[in-house]
Amino acid sequence: MLIRRFFIEGIDFLKQIYLNRFIILELTKRDFKTKYVTNLFGLSWAILEPLAMMSILWFVFTYIRTGRHTEVPFPLFLLAGLIAYDFFNKTLNSATRGISNYGFLINKVNFRAAIIPLVKIFSELILHFIILLIVALILILNGMPVTIYWLQIFYYLFAMTFLLTGITWLTSSVTLFFHDMNYIITIIMRVLFFFTPIFWEAKNIPEQYLVYFRLNPLYYLVNGYRDSLLYGIPFWHHKMDTLYFWLISMTFLLIGVVVFKRLRPFFAEVV
């Protein structure tokens, strides 16, 4: 009975988001513009930042801490994984702060606040597409073959966006009442940076421990980016991981919707 009510309310919530899609589009354009276009070189910094990070890691693991043997050249291996993590990290942070960012609207106009995390996600997606294009160029220049599996990146991107939607509905609403949320996220993401196969490979982990690493949904996404860009492995080769990923994403979405709906009436009183 209760589950059925949750289900109906959840569907209605998502339907309302769909009905607001034009507003989401309009706000996304503006959001992207203020963030990256209004300040001089804004966009270049946003693109340079992950590339600089990649260069540092590449330098460290090629010249200082050597002894890594990956199927493809290590810098490319690193690049493919890092951009997935980087997009997730950046979007999680910006969408979590989204509602307080748009606080000037919350207590002045009655509107669907739930679209704001989505606006932030889509705004970061635009940037991510540009970075993906640059990465594609780097791969081609390094002699990597262009395969049909490159298109699979869209599947993983959709999966990541789906996961982020649920998580950020949860975090963006809770953070209004509980500011420490931002610090907790920063720490979790820093831990995940090392516990996700970004600069190491899953095959180097002993079998009995690997199962714990696979509980991290980023494991699926980072490996998926590599499978698509470097190895040409379709996602249905990882049946269990795929099933697990979608189960956890749905769980986050459910929790996100319920928590957001519960807290929404009080937004104007706290922002």
Binding site: R30, T34, N107, K108, F111, H179, A268
Partner: protein
């Protein structure tokens, strides 16, 4: 002859829970069965009111009497603790200055941003853009970010957008008080035009002259309760009787 009610406020109370910290507030919102420590403050109490189509309703009360809370309830920005608020038609709220405008966007961009948030399609707004800019009459500042605006300019733009997108119901919470006399004159004209077209306006102001001039009905609020609902003249009289301020002459003699 009575016109249909467009706003119905039914036995509304708004309780603000005053928490010592936000963590308690979040926990209580998520788990309503846990009652944590909080103090209750009723900003609106057992409030019932019907506003009919075509009313220009003046709302009078001292600072902290609950006027703005009432406007926020009607605008749907906050939810009543008990009772119901029903609004029929397109409502555009103008709550405080620069309401809903983005500081970093230019005035021009804000026109589209704000109307998009209110749910107006861009095409419809494009047709009105020229009128809006002309009405706001802030010159080249229309292409400057909002953070460079004076409070008068913000009020001009906000008012220009809100009236020109042609809402059925308009809430004006102390927005005209910062405008200069020329703009005030122009705004009054526009409000009268609204009245002629049978639109509804909720007009919050401390300027008794404005209320006398514009409204066909007024209410007096004190401590979140409705004290009086009558002609503007009578309500203002009551207000002055309730809160007899010292007049200027007396003040000057006091200072001497």
């Amino acid at each position: 002859m009575s016109k249909p009610a467009v706003i119905e406020i039914n036995n509304v109370s708004k309780r603000f829970k005053l928490f010592n910290n936000k963590k308690d507030q979040a926990l209580e919102a998520l788990f309503p069965f846990i009652h944590r420590k909080h103090k209750n403050f009723f900003a609106i109490r057992d409030f019932s009111l019907e506003v009919n189509e075509g009313d220009i309703l003046g709302i009078i009360g001292r600072n902290g009497s609950g006027k703005s809370t009432l406007m926020k309830l009607v605008a749907g920005v906050i939810q009543p603790t008990t009772g119901t608020v029903t609004v029929k038609g397109n409502l555009v709220p103008l709550l405080e200055l620069g309401s809903g405008f983005h500081r970093e966007f230019t005035g021009y961009e804000n026109i589209y941003f704000y109307t998009a948030v209110l749910g107006y399609p861009k095409k419809k707004v494009l047709e009105k853009t020229k009128e809006i800019i002309e009405f706001a009459d802030i010159g080249d500042f229309i292409h400057q970010p909002l953070k460079n605006y004076s409070s008068g300019m913000k009020a001009r733009l906000a008012f220009a957008v809100s009236v020109n997108i042609d809402p059925d119901i308009l809430i004006l919470d102390e927005v005209l008080s910062v405008g200069d006399s020329v703009f005030k004159e122009k705004s009054f004209e526009k409000i009268k035009e609204f009245f002629d077209n049978g639109k509804t306006i909720l007009f919050v102001s401390h300027s008794m002259d404005s209320i006398k001039k514009l409204c066909n009905r007024a209410i007096l609020i004190d401590k979140g309760k409705l004290i009086m609902d009558a002609d503007p003249e009578q309500v203002i009289e009551k207000y002055n009787a309730l809160y007899p301020g010292k007049n200027i002459k007396a003040l000057i003699t006091d200072l001497d």
